[in-house]
Amino acid sequence: MNPTAVTGHEAASEESEPGFYGTSWQKLMMWWFIIGDAILFGSFLAAYGFARISAGSWPDRTQMFSMNFITVMTFTLITSSATMATAVAASRRGDRKAAFNFTMATAIGGIAFLGMQAYEWYHLIHNGARMGTNPWGAPAFGAYFFTITGFHGSHVASGVLILLITAWNAKRGKSGPEGVELTGLYWHFVDLVWVFVFGCFYLI
C-alpha cells in the first residue's frame, strides 16, 4: 500500500476539517486566552472575597473613594467599548478610515482611563494607603486594591498598545477585519473585568 496515498479532491482549497463551529484558529486561541485570563482575575477576586470575609470588618468605601470620580472612570471605559464595536463594524465594511479613527478613539479612551486611575492611586496613597497598611481598617485592603486594580491597569495599558498597533495596521491595510475583531475581543474582555472589579471594590 502506498503510505502517502490520498483520496482525490486535491484541488480543493479546503484541506482540513472545518474549524470549530467555523471559528478561525486565531479567534479560538484568543477565546481560550480570555477564558484563562478570566480565571486569573477570578482567582484574584475569589482571594479578595476570602480575605474580606475572614477579616470580618472592611474599610468603608465611601470614606476612601469619590464615587462620582469612579463613575466617570467607568463610563469612560464603557464608552471605549462602544467605539471599539464601531471600529470592528467599520473594518468589516472595509471602511479603513473609520476603522482607524474609532480604534484610535478607543485607545484614547483607554489612556484617559489610565490617567484617571493614576490619579486615583495618587489620591489614595496621598491619604496614607499602602500595600501593607491603610488608615481605614483591615490592612489587607491596600494589598488587594493595588494588586487587582494594578493588574487590571496593566491589561488596559497593554490593550492600548495593541490598539495603537491595530489602528496603524488598519490604516495601512495590513490588518484585516479579523485583526481588528481580535483586538476588540480583548478590549471588551478588559472592560468586562473592570465591571467586576468595580463591583467588588466600589459597590459592595
Binding site: A11, S43, A47
Partner: protein, 581 residues
C-alpha cells in the same frame, strides 16, 4: 492553489514546494518553527534536566539510607528535595511528555502541516530555556535554592528576609524568588503551548478526521491542554501574590501576630490557607495534565502491538472528560488536615472518591485491550504494559488517601510519596518511554536498539516499583516525609527499609544509562526504519520517513477509525486511517 493555502496556517509556500530552498543550520535546528524539531528540542531539554533531578534524588537517597554519608546539611536536604520535585514535574515530565511528544505527534496524528501558530510554538520553547536556567542558577545564590517543598506553602515561602519581612529559613531568600520567577516563565510557556494544542486539534484536523476519529493520544493531549489552561491561572495569581508578599510588604498570606525566630513581623491580616486553595486548584488538575497523555500513549501503543483496537474507545473518551471535570473540584483532598472546615473535608473526600470510577473505566479498558490480542513484546509495548500495572497500583494508593479518615494517618508520610511517584513518576515516565521507543523511528528514521531497550525496561520497572511500593509500607509505619533523619521509636521498623529502597533506586537510575546511550547512538547508528515500521494505522505512519517539511506532500484525507487493526489468521491485516474504501 498556493494562494488558497497560504491563507491557512502552517501552509507556507515552502511546504508545498518542498526542498525548494535551503535554510541555515540555525533556522533549521535552533530557532526552528517546525514542530518536529521543537519536539526534539523539548525532549533533549527534559533529558538534560532529568540528569539534575535524578542526581538530586540519588544524593538525598544516600542521606536517607546511610545518614551522613552524602555529606549534606539539613538545609541542603530540604532544598534538594524541593528542587527534585519541581524539576521532575515541571522540567522533565511536562517537557518530555506534554510538550515534547505532544508537539511531535499532534500535527502528525491529526493530519496538519504544523501547529496552528508555529512561531508561538517556537517562542514557548525559548521561554522554557531561561526558566530552566534560572531554576538551576538558584542553587548558587545566598541561602541556596528554594527549600519550602515543591508546594511552596507560605508563611515559610513568604518569609523572605527582604525589607521588614523576617526570614523563615535559609532557602526562603533569593532562592525562593528565583523559583517563583522560573515557575512564572514556565506557566507562560505552558500556556502558549496549550493554546497551540487546542487550536491545532480543533481547527487543523485533516479532512474526515472527526473528533471521534482522533487517536486516544490526541484526545488526552487535548483534554490535558484544556485542563492546563483552566487551572494554571490560579497558580499564576498565587505566585504573583506570593512575590508581592516577599518583596513589597503585602500580607496576602501572612497573618497578624507572626513571630519568627524571636522577631516580630509587622504583617497583618493575611490567610495562609488561601495559598493552599489556589495552589491545589492548579495542583490537582496538573497531575492529570501529566498522567492523561501517558495513558493515551499506552492505548495507542497497546493497539499497535496487540493488533486490535483499544477496548471501549467511546467510553474512554467519556471517562477522560469526566476525569477532567471532576479533577477541577476535588483539590481540597490535599488539605484534609490543614485546618479547613471538617465539613469541607467530607465533601472533598466524597468527590475525590468519585474520580476513581472513570479511572476504573480507563483501567479496565486498558486491560481489556489485551483480550484476544496478538501481543508483540517490543520495548515500547513492555513499557505500555508496565504502565497498566502502575496505574492500578498507584491509583489504589489514591483510594487510601482520598478517604479523609485514613488520610489522618497517611498525610505527609511516605505513603503519599509512594503514591505520587507511582503516578507522576512511573506512569508518566513509562508512558513517555513507550512513546519515545514507538515514535523514534518516525523522529529520526532509525530504530532504537531493542536489547538495550529491554535492559532499560526491566531495570526501570523492577527498580522503580520496588522503591515506591516499599515507600507505601514506610508510610503505613508513619514515616514522615521531608525528613533529613529519623530518630523516633515508632518509626524504626519503617526506617529500617531505607537502605533497600536506596539500592532499588540505584538500580532504577542506573537503568537510565542504557537509555541515554541508546537514544543518542540510535539517532546516528540505529537500524534504518521504513515509513511504517510497526504496521500501525494512525496518520503519522502514512507519511514518509524522515518526515518532509510540511509533513505530507498532500494532506491525507481520513476515511475511518484510527485503529484499523483487524483479525485474521496472519494477524497482520490492518487498514490505514486514510485508506480508500
Amino acid at each position: 492553489m498556493a494562494i488558497a493555502q497560504a491563507a491557512r496556517p502552517g501552509t507556507h509556500e515552502s511546504h508545498v514546494h518542498d526542498g525548494g530552498h535551503s535554510i541555515g543550520f540555525v533556522r533549521k535546528y535552533i530557532f526552528s518553527t517546525d514542530h518536529k524539531v521543537i519536539a526534539v528540542q523539548y525532549i533533549l531539554m527534559a533529558m538534560l534536566m532529568s540528569v539534575v533531578g535524578l542526581g538530586l534524588s540519588l544524593l538525598f537517597r544516600i542521606q536517607l539510607a546511610w545518614p551522613g554519608k552524602a555529606g549534606m546539611t539539613p538545609e541542603q536536604y530540604v532544598s534538594y528535595v524541593t528542587m527534585h520535585g519541581t524539576i521532575m514535574i515541571f522540567f522533565v515530565v511536562s517537557l518530555a511528555l506534554s510538550s515534547g511528544l505532544g508537539n511531535f505527534s499532534i500535527p502528525l496524528q491529526v493530519g496538519a502541516r504544523d501547529m496552528a501558530y508555529p512561531l508561538l510554538n517556537m517562542l514557548s520553547f525559548w521561554v522554557i530555556v531561561p526558566a530552566a536556567a534560572i531554576m538551576i542558577l538558584s542553587f548558587f545564590v545566598e541561602g541556596g535554592a528554594a527549600a519550602g517543598g515543591w508546594t511552596a506553602y507560605p508563611p515559610l515561602s513568604a518569609l523572605s528576609g527582604f525589607g521588614k519581612v523576617p526570614r523563615g529559613s535559609p532557602g526562603s531568600g533569593m532562592g525562593q524568588t528565583l523559583w517563583l520567577l522560573a515557575m512564572a516563565l514556565f506557566i507562560v510557556s505552558f500556556t502558549m503551548g496549550g493554546l497551540n494544542y487546542v487550536a491545532t486539534i480543533l481547527n487543523l484536523r485533516a479532512r474526515g478526521m472527526s473528533l471521534m476519529r482522533m487517536p486516544l493520544t490526541v484526545w488526552t493531549w487535548f483534554i490535558a491542554a484544556l485542563l492546563g489552561l483552566l487551572s494554571f491561572p490560579a497558580l499564576t495569581a498565587a505566585a504573583i501574590m506570593l512575590l508581592l508578599d516577599r518583596h513589597l510588604g503585602t500580607s496576602f498570606f501572612l497573618p497578624s501576630g507572626l513571630v519568627v525566630s524571636g522577631q516580630q513581623a509587622v504583617n497583618a491580616g493575611g490567610t495562609p490557607l488561601l495559598f493552599q486553595h489556589l495552589f491545589w486548584f492548579l495542583g490537582h488538575p496538573e497531575v492529570y495534565v501529566l498522567v492523561l497523555p501517558a495513558i493515551g500513549i499506552a492505548f495507542d501503543v497497546l493497539a499497535a502491538f496487540s493488533r486490535r483496537p483499544p477496548h471501549g474507545y467511546k467510553y474512554s473518551v467519556g471517562a477522560l472528560l469526566i476525569i477532567a471535570f471532576l479533577g477541577m473540584i476535588v483539590w481540597g483532598h490535599h488539605m484534609f488536615t490543614s485546618g479547613m472546615n471538617p465539613f469541607l473535608g467530607k465533601y472533598f473526600s466524597i468527590s475525590t472518591l468519585l474520580i476513581t470510577a472513570p479511572f476504573a473505566i480507563l483501567g479496565v479498558n486498558l486491560l481489556a485491550s489485551l483480550w484476544r490480542a496478538r501481543i508483540r513484546f517490543t520495548t515500547a509495548m513492555l513499557f505500555a504494559l508496565g504502565l497498566i500495572s502502575a496505574v492500578g497500583t498507584g491509583g489504589i494508593g489514591g483510594l487510601f488517601l482520598a478517604t479523609a479518615t485514613a488520610d489522618l494517618h497517611f498525610h505527609d508520610t511516605y505513603f503519599v510519596v509512594g503514591h505520587f511517584h507511582l503516578m507522576i513518576g512511573v506512569v508518566t515516565m513509562t508512558g513517555t518511554f513507550a512513546g519515545i521507543y514507538y515514535w523514534f523511528p518516525k523522529m529520526f528514521g532509525r530504530y532504537m536498539n531493542e536489547t538495550l531497550g529491554k535492559l532499560h525496561f526491566w531495570g526501570t520497572f523492577i527498580g522503580a516499583f520496588a522503591v515506591f511500593v516499599i515507600q507505601h509500607f514506610q508510610g503505613f509505619g508513619g514515616m514522615t516525609r521531608r525528613y533529613f533523619e529519623y530518630s523516633a521509636d515508632y518509626v524504626k521498623p519503617a526506617v529500617a527499609l531505607n537502605p533497600a529502597v536506596t539500592v532499588f533506586a540505584f538500580l532504577a537510575i542506573a537503568a537510565q544509562l542504557p537509555f541515554f546511550f541508546n537514544f543518542f547512538w540510535s539517532m546516528f547508528k540505529g537500524k534504518k526504519a521504513e515509513a511504517n515500521p510497526w504496521e500501525a494505522t494512525t496518520l503519522e505512519w502514512t507519511t514518509a520517513t524522515p518526515v518532509p517539511h510540511g509533513n505530507w506532500d498532500r494532506l491525507p484525507v481520513v476515511s475511518g477509525d484510527p485503529y484499523g487493526y483487524a483479525a485474521g489468521p496472519d494477524g497482520n491485516a490492518h487498514r490505514m486511517q486514510n485508506a480508500e474504501g
